[in-house]
């Protein structure tokens, strides 16, 4: 009991609980708890008003457009909106029902209406996504039936093009008859549906996306590791040198930031290509013969070298800012207590750099996963990443649903990794500066 009385914390606890049972009030007689809540609410409101412009900005310029774009990955009404009657027929019948007279009539009516409204291309494009080669079936039929069509519809449509009788086409149209679809996600994972609607892998020679996803994450991990290996000693040097010298070095680190990305990428081409500077020097030194010049660019090696260089500052800067705050006396203390320099580094110094390392690795990895222009220019065929396919669907084939599905998968994968990181290391440990 005497011990408890001597413990200062126990004393405070006793006093506080003693007072808490009564009602504390402010000077003007209001209950203290309520006044506190009110003043905190006011402060929160003010803080919210301060961030409101940024919130609105992010919402308008980022969340809404990206949300809209990603919606395309599972919502495409190109067929269902322009072919209402045949879509209704699909809704009423079960999968596998062969098209009857009503179906042919509905199809013909829709085709005529869609051709007149000049939306037949949208319809054909939608079906073409799932069944390549069918777009021209729709557009050419559309050109012939513009202005109206005579029954018997089935015979006439088959007369125009016998492909209209293809059961696979009807199965694909059935799937497109509702705007919601998972087919773009299936295609992003090299999967497709057969006539019965069962999911299967696409033919081997068409498989590409799974490989590219795998390669994207693998290369990003390699690049992150490389930036760490190269960046850690530099950051340490920067953090320990006297201010004047470290400032000079800092400019060298930042210099690439001030140069255009394309210029940097092109310089790597000049350096690394077979008739380039590095190969010339190696040949001149006699390390390799003139006929065995190394292929260091337009392949994976080129992508790794150029991207490591471009992303290096994103690793160095957070590491540097964390290392600056590490008190050198800790390592000295460890050494004085008998630790070898390796043990002192491993058990005392390195753990303190982890927040910077985590932030740097996260930045580099996430930037690398979505990188586009550098792999496109120096990657050749083996250094291409998934973002190059997204770009191709955005600007080449104009299949934005597919681009959105690939982007959503990439986003999802990064979020999963972020979650794993949070589990393993803890996101609140991140320190950017």
């Amino acid at each position: 009991m005497a011990n408890a009385a001597l413990d200062p914390h126990a004393a405070i606890a006793t006093t506080a609980s003693g007072v808490g049972s009564g009602l504390l009030t402010t000077e003007d007689g209001k209950p203290l708890a309520r006044a506190l809540v009110r003043s905190q609410r006011r402060a929160r409101k003010r803080a919210f008003l301060l961030v409101l412009p940024l919130l609105a900005f992010i919402l308008v310029t980022f969340v809404v457009p990206i949300g809209q774009m990603l919606t395309r990955s599972f919502h495409n009404d190109g067929f269902s909106a322009n072919m209402p009657q045949v879509s209704a027929w699909f809704a009423e019948t079960e999968r596998g029902t062969p098209p009857d007279e009503a179906a042919w009539t509905a199809l013909a009516t829709d085709l005529v209406a869609s051709a007149d409204a000049r939306s037949i291309g949208v319809v054909g494009t939608r079906i073409n996504y799932d069944m390549p080669g069918t777009r021209s079936l729709f557009t050419s039929t559309g050109r012939q039936v513009r202005g109206g069509m005579e029954p018997p519809y089935q015979a006439n449509l088959l007369e125009i093009n016998e492909d209209w009788g293809d059961p696979r086409l009807w199965s694909v149209m059935r799937e497109a008859s509702t705007p919601l679809t998972a087919n773009f996600y299936l295609a992003s994972m090299d999967r497709t549906r057969d006539e019965t609607g069962a999911i299967q892998q696409v033919e081997e020679q068409q498989r590409i996306y799974a490989t590219l996803f795998w390669r994207t994450f693998w290369l990003s991990a390699v690049i992150t590791a490389l930036t760490f290996i190269l960046g850690f000693p530099i950051a340490h040097l920067l953090a320990t040198l006297p201010m004047r010298k470290s400032n000079l070095l800092m400019i060298l680190v930042l210099l690439p930031f001030w140069t255009s990305l394309l210029v940097r990428t092109t310089s790597w081409m000049v350096l690394l290509q077979q008739q380039g500077v590095v190969n010339d020097i190696l040949v001149w030194l006699g390390v390799i013969g003139g006929g065995q010049r190394l292929q260091m660019i337009y392949n994976q090696t080129g992508t790794i070298i150029a991207m490591t260089h471009i992303l290096l500052p994103f690793m160095i800067l957070p590491l540097y800012s964390v290392m600056r705050t590490i008190n050198p006396t800790y390592v000295r203390a460890a050494r004085s207590l008998g630790a070898t320099s390796w043990t002192a580094f491993r058990r005392v110094y390195f753990p303190q750099t982890l927040p910077g390392l985590g932030a740097g690795a996260m930045l580099v990895f996430i930037l690398a996963v979505g990188y586009y222009i550098t792999p496109a220019l120096v990657g050749g065929s083996s250094g291409m990443l998934i973002s190059n396919m997204i770009a191709q669907h955005m600007t080449g084939t104009l299949n934005w649903s597919m681009a959105a599905a690939l982007a959503a998968l990439l986003l999802g994968a990064v979020l999963v990794l972020y979650w794993v990181y949070d589990r393993l290391v803890g996101v609140d440990n991140l320190k950017l500066g």
């Binding site: 000049r118 390549p132 081997e204 020679q205 290509q273 008739q275 065929s381 600007t395």
Partner: protein, 356 residues
């Protein structure tokens, strides 16, 4: 009433010129420059309608985005034929009445003057460009390559090659090199065996190819000696040879030509001026003038003879154009229906082939 009219006139005078600008979306570079010098500037000088030019990597992408968002700011855009077909079928483009097109100077009706396929529902062709084989003359002092087959003959004509990263053009070239006559290329390519055959032919040089992404890369690779032969757009090769004096030679045998031209996005803000611009700029004289800036041929027959010297030199441009008669012998017209249909599928297969 008079006051109202006066007010209207005054307002018209004040706001007229600002409203009547034609917003022209082009590609930039030497090609965009030809649009500026041969079309935009003289058009403004002649009609008083200002033309505001902007650039895009591929103008079809902003058109699609603007039309879908219902906020169109482009009046006229230069797009590739395939994209024009695609966007037109999707209702993203205005229909252009061919009656507005100006007749040739000898009175031939416009539709008879344009080459086949140059005017469609939504599209009026401005120029014909082509994919050609080119080589660095210095690398072949003795025998010179002369055909698609030579491009695939690594032993006879050593050195790396560079080709466009994508299925289009490469599959056709492979079939032509494998002995398929130009007229039958698409017939063969429409069959699965034909596609296999094209990829098998590409397999023979796969390890020797650097795949280019941007049109500026192949002349650079040729100039650096990184490759000895390139498969590239004729305008780029011509520019490097002409302006930078590079020793590049073009092989016209097996060229694949395509068209670019004007389209008007659905809901363009200044329709009237846009149509006037399209009609004016596709007359034979401006088309011939544009061909003096860049080696893309005019799609009007009567314009061919009017093309003068290469801008800033005293050499004739004529022989450098894909449409020149001497160059059209073994030429292949790119089949756009085919590519609009099979683009995605064949590109996936191409990328899968690259990755394997």
């Amino acid at each position: 009433m008079t006051r109202l009219l006066m007010l209207g006139t005054a307002l018209g005078l004040v706001s007229g010129p600002a409203l009547a600008d034609v917003n022209l979306l082009s590609w930039g570079g030497a090609y965009g420059n030809s649009h500026l010098e041969a079309y935009a500037k003289p058009f403004t000088a002649e009609t008083g309608i200002a033309v505001t030019m902007s650039d895009a990597d591929n103008p079809a992408t902003p058109i699609k985005a603007q039309v879908e968002a219902g906020n169109v700011s482009i009046d006229v855009a230069s797009v590739e034929y395939a994209d024009a077909v695609r966007l037109c079928d999707e209702g993203a483009l205005e229909v252009i009445d061919p009656a507005i097109l100006l007749p040739a100077e000898d009175g031939t009706a416009a539709m008879d003057d344009f080459i086949e396929g140059a005017v469609t529902e939504c599209f009026v062709g401005t120029d014909v460009y082509s994919m050609v084989l080119a080589f660095n003359d210095e690398q072949f002092p003795d025998a010179k390559p002369a055909s698609p087959a030579d491009f695939f003959d690594i032993e006879g004509f050593p050195g790396k090659r560079t080709m466009r990263n994508g299925a289009k053009f490469n599959l056709e070239l492979a079939l032509m090199a494998d002995g398929v006559p130009a007229a039958e290329v698409y017939e063969v390519l429409a069959t699965p065996e034909g596609v296999d055959r094209a990829f098998a032919k590409l397999d023979t040089i796969k390890d020797e190819v650097i795949w280019w992404e941007a049109g500026a890369q192949p002349p650079q690779l040729l100039a650096d000696g990184e490759v000895s032969m390139a498969y590239a757009f004729n305008g780029r090769i011509f520019n490097a040879a002409q302006a930078d004096g590079q020793p590049f030679e073009i092989i016209w045998d097996g060229q694949i030509y395509e068209m670019e031209g004007w389209v008007i996005p659905a809901g363009a803000p200044n329709m009237e001026e846009a149509l006037e611009f399209v009609a004016w700029s596709t007359a034979p004289a401006p088309q011939a003038r544009a061909a003096e800036f860049i080696s893309y041929g005019p799609p009007r027959r009567s314009a061919a003879a009017m093309v003068g010297n290469i801008e800033g030199t005293d050499q004739p441009m004529g022989p450098n154009l894909p449409t020149s008669e001497a160059n059209m012998g073994a030429a292949l017209a790119s089949d756009l229906e085919f590519w609009v249909d099979r683009d995605a599928e064949l590109n996936e297969r191409f990328n899968s082939w690259l990755a394997s």
